[in-house]
């Protein structure tokens, strides 16, 4: 945590004074932090707090295209919620979202860790070489990389189908990846994992360079293999890193919208809709703004529960320190 002490107003001689400063500067020093925070607080209240509140309010309304056009406010209590919570589609989508998040995060964390370990092992030039490709993947704007992946997996001229055909899977030559739920998800997951591994790998590598080499040597002297070194040296030293990164990735993947929506609009037959996409399609595309907001609130509650869990762990760790 950052140094938080106040700087005492210096006296002419440069030594801190214990005398009583005049009331004016005192008051100013006391309210200065709040003045500095004011713009940030106002922005957060109006630009984040208000949309959050509005989401909750709208979720208790019957708001479809008619009400939207005529500016009508029709409260309908918990109807949107009971409708969603008793709706099989909602639970399917929730299950799909959870599975989607788990698969992505496991692949990202395992892949990122392995790539980070590899970076640590490589010689200087090889490391630079690999880092360059990781940086390019990391920096690709999501909309651009989503477009590129649809091109790589294009049915007729996609390079992936050509490669699979060359490798002997001749059935794949004209395969339409976006006609099936699982193959669409495969492409989306590949895209997300490809784009997310660099962040984890670089942080992992940065973390590894902080571990003193003596620790490895000692472990090796004791006859530890690679796995043992990882579980008894690396993992314990980098536990905060693993915790924070896993948590961040869970949140990011759970919220992922652009990759899923821009790839195939949640298709085929709405089978790749995750919760954010579901909220968007129900709310905006189908003009059920109240329903969409109820789905949004339910999603926010799930994210909130995750965050609360994580913050508790963090606070506990702070207490231990």
């Amino acid at each position: 945590m950052a140094a938080t002490e106040q700087i005492a107003p210096p006296t002419a001689g440069g030594t801190p004074t214990n005398g009583r400063p005049t009331a004016g500067p005192r008051l100013l020093t006391r309210i200065a932090p709040y003045l500095l925070l004011l713009p940030a607080i106002l922005a957060t209240l109006f630009l984040l707090g208000y949309p959050l509140l509005k989401t909750v309010l709208v979720s208790f309304q019957n708001l479809n295209s008619r009400q939207l056009v005529q500016h009508l406010t029709e409260w309908n209590g918990f109807e949107n919620y009971t409708e969603q919570l008793s709706n099989g589609e909602f639970w399917h989508t929730t299950g799909r979202s959870v599975a989607f998040t788990v698969v992505n995060v496991v692949l990202i964390m395992v892949g990122g860790t392995l790539v980070g370990l590899l970076l640590n092992r490589l010689g200087k030039w090889m490391r630079l070489f690999l880092s360059a490709s990781l940086i390019l993947a990391w920096a690709m704007p999501i909309v651009a990389s989503t477009t590129v992946y649809t091109w790589l997996f294009d049915q007729k001229y996609g390079v992936v189908n050509w490669l699979l055909d060359k490798l002997g899977f001749h059935g794949m030559l004209d395969y339409n990846w976006f006609s099936d739920q699982y193959s669409t998800f495969f492409v989306i997951i590949l895209l997300i994992v490809w784009g997310s591994i660099p962040f984890v790998a670089f942080n992992m590598y940065a973390g590894l360079t902080t571990i003193p080499t003596e620790l490895y040597e000692a472990a090796r002297m004791d006859g530890a293999g690679s796995l043992k070194i990882f579980s008894s040296v690396i993992f314990p030293s980098l536990k905060p890193f693993f915790l924070a990164t896993t948590f961040l990735e869970v949140i990011w993947v759970f919220k992922a919208f652009t990759q899923v929506f821009a790839m195939n609009m949640g298709g085929p037959q709405r089978l790749t809709e995750t919760l954010p996409v579901y909220a968007f399609i129900e709310g905006v595309s189908n003009n059920h703004y109240g329903t969409g907001s109820a789905i949004a609130v339910l999603t926010i509650l799930m994210l909130g529960a995750l965050m609360a869990y994580y913050f508790r762990i963090i606070l506990k760790q702070e207490d231990e320190l």
Partner: protein, 275 residues
């Protein structure tokens, strides 16, 4: 002997495979953008476009609204980043250097706000913009993008300000500077790397944003992400033009990132990983 060579070279072999895996989509985008149409739709992919062409780029930059969208994207992104830098510098100075009631709460709120689910709040943001007659305008985009990057900016700058030794400020104040002068003359210049790395991530976030502009600006004031997805459906199977458009969209970010990433990675780690 042979065994040890294999033992030493397998990490390099894996590194080469990974290099191809990570770079190929980027390479394929750029190379397709330069290929002749006959090479793009050939049954055997052409891996090196020897007879390149610029016609796809020509089609992309002359497509409807391209330059308007470029302008819009820059206005919105730069506006959001600058506004968040100003607000965040003030706030992070307070958080890093002062003791006050409610400091912990503020830090916690900022941490939570960093994870705000904008993706599912599009509906309420739409209603807010509509009720204020601001649909299809650049202003709501700019201020909401500002809010999206603000928590991260505060978080990261806080780390950078805390890293500037307090003694520097104190000695400036001893020399007769006021606290504000001490900040402007001493701390601010040292913050340059922090400001750069935070604005890089702010830039990427705002440049990339898709769900909000998708719903707010259907009839005007659109930005490049929207143009790019629309372009893809409008141009159908014209992959050359689509990849040229994607490349044009990605280039500013790629350039910025490659130049600034060294500083940025440190900032990112400080902001995201260290509690």
């Amino acid at each position: 002997m042979r065994r040890s060579i294999i033992g030493r070279s397998w990490p390099n072999a894996i590194a080469v495979v990974l290099f191809v895996f990570f770079i190929f989509p980027v390479y394929w985008m750029v190379s397709t953008a330069f290929k002749q149409n006959t090479d793009i739709v050939s049954k055997t992919p052409v891996f090196v476009p020897l007879n390149g062409t610029l016609e796809h780029f020509d089609r992309a930059v002359h497509a409807d609204g391209f330059w308007t969208m470029v302008g819009n994207s820059f206005v919105v992104t730069v506006g959001a980043v600058l506004a968040s830098l100003v607000i965040a510098t003030l706030a992070s100075f307070a958080v890093a250097r002062m003791k006050f009631r409610g400091r912990k709460t503020f830090v916690l709120v900022i941490m939570a706000a960093q994870m705000a689910p904008w993706e599912v709040m599009t509906i309420s943001v739409y209603l807010i913009a509509r009720d204020n007659d601001m649909l299809n305008s650049l202003l709501p985009l700019t201020i909401f993008y500002m809010m999206m990057v603000l928590p991260f900016t505060i978080w990261t700058l806080r780390g950078f300000i805390a890293a500037v030794p307090k003694e520097l400020e104190e000695s400036a104040m001893v020399d007769g500077c006021t606290r504000v002068q001490a900040f402007v003359k001493v701390v601010f210049p040292l913050l340059a790397p922090g400001l750069m790395s935070t604005s890089l991530f702010g830039f990427i976030t705002a440049w990339n944003e898709y769900p909000l502009v998708l719903i707010l600006n259907k009839q005007g004031g659109q930005t490049l992400p929207l143009w790019l997805t629309g372009f893809r459906s409008a141009f159908g199977d014209d992959w050359g033009a689509t990849m040229a458009a994607s490349s044009l969209f990605a280039v500013p970010v790629l350039i910025l990132f490659v130049f600034l990433q060294r500083k940025a990675v440190g900032g990112m780690t400080a902001g995201a990983v260290k509690g």
